[in-house]
Amino acid sequence: MVTESDVAHIAILADIGISREELAEFTGQFNAILDYFDLLDQVEAEERPEAEQTNIFRDDEVVPSLTPDAVLENAGESEDGYIRAPKVM
């Protein structure tokens, strides 16, 4: 069972804003979905590595990339060739 305060905490971890009015509805839906996920408790096998899995390597070649202008085209705000972001501290 997750509580409204659990859901509010998850929203902070996920950087998803959630309003007070939405909390009750989200919590109810969360609990119904997590109840269903509890089916997985019955799966006995532990996670196993896939035998055929291998790393895929490629040569580290320099290839043409996007121009700085193309990269900045969709940015909300830019300054001196950089993307402007909200302050972190």
Partner: protein, 431 residues
């Protein structure tokens, strides 16, 4: 080279963006109008993923599949509506309004490639690209009465597909008939070094209706709880038609189906929580207000611009991956996923393809599904193929109450040719 004037009247809200004058080249699809789902990047054409958070975003490059379409001469006539970021089974969760089903506009077209399916089913375009993470090509194909193919994982490059659950999803063809699906698939399949999971298996097949001696497995679980009786009967009749063409029907069982849906939703929400972290309003989409602190601005932006289902899945995934619950959810989901793969491998030692319904019911009425869990349960028959990465096709096989029913045919890895032939053979007897 030329320009195609695309003057279709979109009464179904199938498109988010329409390109009225579409350029095209020469090649096997010269001048053929093709619609592209709006989570596949198209240079200079708005690509939104059905979300307000990407409204106005103009990708600076083409997805690999789009480059191949252009090289084949196709005219890209627009970007089709979809459930926001591919999350949904109805195409009602788009920020640009729901698409309706051309067969009956009181019903949903299915999702999440509902716009692509409606664009084809309405006759606006002969073929379209969709994407399938848990059934998003096959579901709308079934609900709208068209053909949709989910390829083997990796057979079509995901470069330029805006990621939602990258271990499950892929781009695939949708069209009004099997031949066109096969034609479109031959254009987009093949190796791309920019996608590390891409496999070197081009597709050059011409559909054949010769299926004598083919062994078709029919798992009991595909006709289990929740599957509408009339849908089950319609699909059983279709499988009987395949038997009439000389195929051998083998009743079988897939015990891992019991856990497949939960494993799917834990996996896709976990991947979504990571993949969708990039949508912060800083680098693309409508800008964020940079005067406030990062987290305040970021949280508020995502609350305002993501829809409820996207926020729900990001939060569910964050929870499933959190320290105390990883073992209970994510780790178990991966074990269940391995069981699904092993079940398919076991069945495919004995049969050539597996057949059953694509969806447990016909298309829902618009607004009918309001509870997320009941919506998730509708995906029970399509998610196993995504968990295992095997190819699957949905082909129309009749109507129930005036709404189309889809026959799903699932094959071994990289054996699209075989499921295409089975679907083509069925299409031939049904006509």
């Amino acid at each position: 080279m030329g320009t195609l004037a695309f003057d279709a009247d979109d009464r179904w809200n199938a498109f988010v963006t329409i390109c009225r004058n579409a350029e095209h080249g020469d090649g096997p699809l010269a001048g053929v109008p093709v619609a592209v789902k709006d989570n596949i990047s198209t240079a200079g054409i708005q690509t939104t993923c059905g979300s307000a958070i990407l409204e106005g975003y103009l990708p600076p490059y083409d997805a690999h599949a789009v480059s191949l379409l252009k090289a084949a001469g196709a005219a890209i006539v627009g970007k089709t509506n979809m459930d926001e970021f591919g999350m949904g089974t109805t195409t009602e969760s788009s920020a640009f309004g729901p698409t309706t089903n051309p067969v009956n506009v009181a019903h949903v077209p299915g999702g999440s490639s509902g716009g692509s399916a409606a664009a084809v089913a309405s006759g606006m375009v002969p073929m379209a690209l969709g994407t399938d993470t848990g059934g998003s090509i096959r579901c709308p194909a079934a609900f709208c009465g068209i053909v949709g193919l989910k390829p083997t994982y990796g057979r079509v490059s995901r470069y330029g597909l805006i990621a939602y659950a990258n271990s499950l999803e892929g781009i695939g063809p949708m069209a009004g008939n099997v031949t066109d699906v096969s034609r479109l698939f031959s254009v987009i399949a093949g190796k791309d070094p920019r996608d590390a999971t891409s496999i070197d298996r081009p597709y050059t097949h011409t559909p054949s209706s010769e299926i004598r001696g083919m062994r078709i497995g029919v798992p009991a679980e595909f006709f289990g709880e929740g599957v509408d009786d009339s849908v089950a009967e319609t699909v059983r009749t279709a499988i009987g038609d395949l038997e009439g063409l000389g195929a051998e029907i083998v009743e079988c069982s897939m015990p891992s189906m019991k856990y497949a849906l939960a494993a799917y939703y834990v996996t896709c929400t976990s991947e979504a929580s990571s993949n969708l972290a990039r949508f912060d309003g800083i680098r693309y989409g409508p800008g964020n207000e940079s005067k406030r602190s990062w987290h305040d601005a970021y949280q508020e932006h995502r609350r305002e611009r993501f829809g409820a289902e996207v926020r729900r899945r990001i939060m569910l995934g964050t929870f499933a991956l959190s320290a105390g619950y990883y073992g209970k959810y994510y780790s178990k989901a991966q074990a269940a996923r391995t069981n699904v793969r092993e079940d398919f491998a076991r069945l495919f030692r004995d049969v050539d393809v597996i057949a059953g319904p694509t969806m447990p019911t016909t298309a829902f009425a618009l607004g009918e599904k309001t509870d997320p869990l009941s919506m998730y349960l509708a995906d029970i028959l399509t998610v196993p193929a995504n968990l295992a990465g095997v190819p699957a096709i949905s082909v129309p096989c009749g109507d129930v109450g005036g709404l189309p029913v889809g026959l799903q045919i699932i094959g071994r890895h990289c054996e699209e040719e075989r499921i295409v032939d089975t679907a083509f053979a069925y299409e031939g007897v049904r006509k």
